[in-house]
Amino acid sequence: MARINLEHIRHAYGAKPKSEEDYALKEVHHEWNDGGAYALLGPSGCGKTTLLNIISGLINPSEGRILFDGTDVTQLTTQQRNIAQVFQFPVIYDTMTVYDNLAFPLRNRHVPEAEVDRRVKEIIEMTGLGGWAKKTARGLTADQKQKISLGRGLVRSDVSAILFDEPLTVIDPEMKWVLRSQIKRLHKQFGFTMVYVTHDQTEALTFADKVVVMYDGQIVQIGTPAELFERPRHTFVGYFIGSPGMNVLPAEIAGNTASIGDQSIALTFQPQIKAGARTELGIRPEFISLGREGMPVSVTKVEDIGRHKIVRARFADRPISIIVDEDGEIPAEPRVTFDPKAINIYADSWRVGGEA
């Protein structure tokens, strides 16, 4: 268990990076708390696996240092860092039994056999592989194999951190919930520092205390699920988190008024914007109310998804999404109002202005 400091980490896969574009991972400088549960969330190719492998020591960063509890581990091997990592696709030792697979990381570290037995039995219980313990791992299904991989990651009790690289990709949806809550339980029980890579926002939001959103090789925001939802620091976070994502509309900002097309919206604060910046107004579909008052919109489509309806509409000639209650009515001449507290203003995609 350890506090992890990433100091000015950058990584490029090519030998001699010339420009910023050559870096798969742009500068990362953060401290991750001991015992925290972090989710690295982002689309494919955003550098989240690279960052994970840098933490575990499978990749040496081109620049920067990594500290565990204040000690520089940048040059140490994975083994010396004492990290557990679970990969996206199952890795099993298929000539060994399920039991031996789970015992392997412990036996390699010369843990006493009685302790090995205790830990392995615990993991077998947790993953529900009881009936398979004495069988060779070869004949198992993909999700059983992945449970073994997962088990091997969780079996050691003294690790600095446990890293998960999209571990539930090959698991059935039903089993995903079970395993995720078990990982969560283990986290609460033992207080491991956990880092969980995923591109699934539900997974990230339910697993982590802090979600680290990555986009194009950089961390765009670290925050609690609520912060990511209410105050996305970057328009990407707004799009990526939420279903549907945030409405981002080009807007002219003058003082504390935003104008979209010929509509003016009063802001509760006065954004500080550099001259020449591209300005946008962001508002989540949840905070737009549809009724008979406010600014006119034209409804193009209504999607009923059960608990509520998603209304697709055009506002000032821009597409927007609005979430309406299941029994909410859609008037013949619909108008919308924006909840002023939920409006975020962006300059060149980054959020600006006082927290009001």
Binding site: I83, F89, V91, Y93, F104, P105, N108, R109, T136, R152
Partner: protein
């Protein structure tokens, strides 16, 4: 359900039957033909029954040659399989070294057998051969023409030089198919170099190793050209393998009956041993 009974199906299998007949059955049957008959020329044949088989099986000549074959194959396998694995493990996995290594490895395999034999025949000669001359100059008593041990050593080194590449290439193919995640996971699990070999690389190479083992067994058991060119079966009979003896018997002595009987016995031995190896190895595979 109504079924039409006719013999049309025979026409369907006929092409294959004809092909197999010409490629295998007919040549084999001529040998069988010789093995159960005696002839004094003029195309006059007499029924001999199992006489030739008994002759062969009762002769020391057969058992001595068979023993030599078995020892030779055992030594060859004991050297080439482990050596091939070691070389494959140490070959580069990416970069410019890969094609260079692969070409170097493939070179010996591209040389015809009798050329390989001639190369080593000259190479090992004490008077003009680089190897033979150097070894003698170093004060080691070496002469494959006179000393049976030296003749064996020469043949074994030659075979190792010629065929280890095959094992290397097969193992290498098995090794490069292992995804990187396995090595990464092994690092995370704290596995030693030996554990990585024992639990990741060896299991993944198992299938290709089985093929390599069978191919090298069959080929080394049937070895003919190289000893024929290098030692001609000598000194004495020390390198007279079954194949060499067979040719002596059939072409040198024109003993067609015993030679045919020996051919069939030889064929059955290879078939039997290959089947045993295959069965043993695949059953242990299933048990894991």
């Amino acid at each position: 359900m109504e079924k039409t009974w006719n013999n049309k199906a025979w026409f369907m299998v006929l092409p294959v039957l004809v092909l197999v007949a010409f490629s295998a059955v007919i040549p084999l049957m001529t040998v069988v033909n010789y093995s159960v008959q005696d002839t004094f020329g003029n195309n006059a044949f007499f029924w001999a029954g199992t006489d030739w088989f008994l002759d062969v099986l009762e002769s020391d000549r057969f058992w001595d040659a068979l023993t030599r074959n078995l020892i030779f194959s055992a030594i060859i396998l004991a050297i080439e399989i482990p050596l091939g694995i070691v070389i494959a493990l140490n070959m580069p996995k990416r970069g410019i070294g890969v094609p260079i290594c692969l070409v170097l490895m493939a070179l010996p395999l591209l040389i015809p057998w009798n050329v390989v034999g001639t190369i080593w025949q000259v190479f090992g000669r004490v008077d003009i051969g680089l190897l033979g001359h150097t070894v003698t100059a170093l004060g080691i008593d070496y002469n494959y023409v006179q000393n049976p041990i030296d003749a064996w050593v020469t043949l074994i080194i030659m075979d190792v030089w010629h065929w280890t590449s095959l094992v290397v290439l097969l193992c290498y193919a098995g090794l490069v198919s292992i995804p990187d995640a396995y090595y990464q996971a092994a690092k995370i699990d704290g596995a030693s170099r030996w554990s990585v070999f024992r639990y990741i690389q060896l299991p993944k190479m198992k299938r290709v190793l089985l093929i390599a083992f069978l191919l090298r067994f069959m080929d080394s058991f049937m070895i003919y050209t190289e000893p024929f060119v290098v030692t001609g079966g000598g000194p004495g009979n020390s390198t007279t393998f079954l194949s060499v003896d067979l040719v002596k018997m059939a072409i040198g002595e024109f003993n067609l009956g015993p030679a045919a009987a020996l051919s069939i016995i030889y064929f059955l031995i290879i078939l039997l041993l290959s089947w045993i190896f295959y069965t043993v190895m695949t059953t242990s595979d299933a048990q894991g």
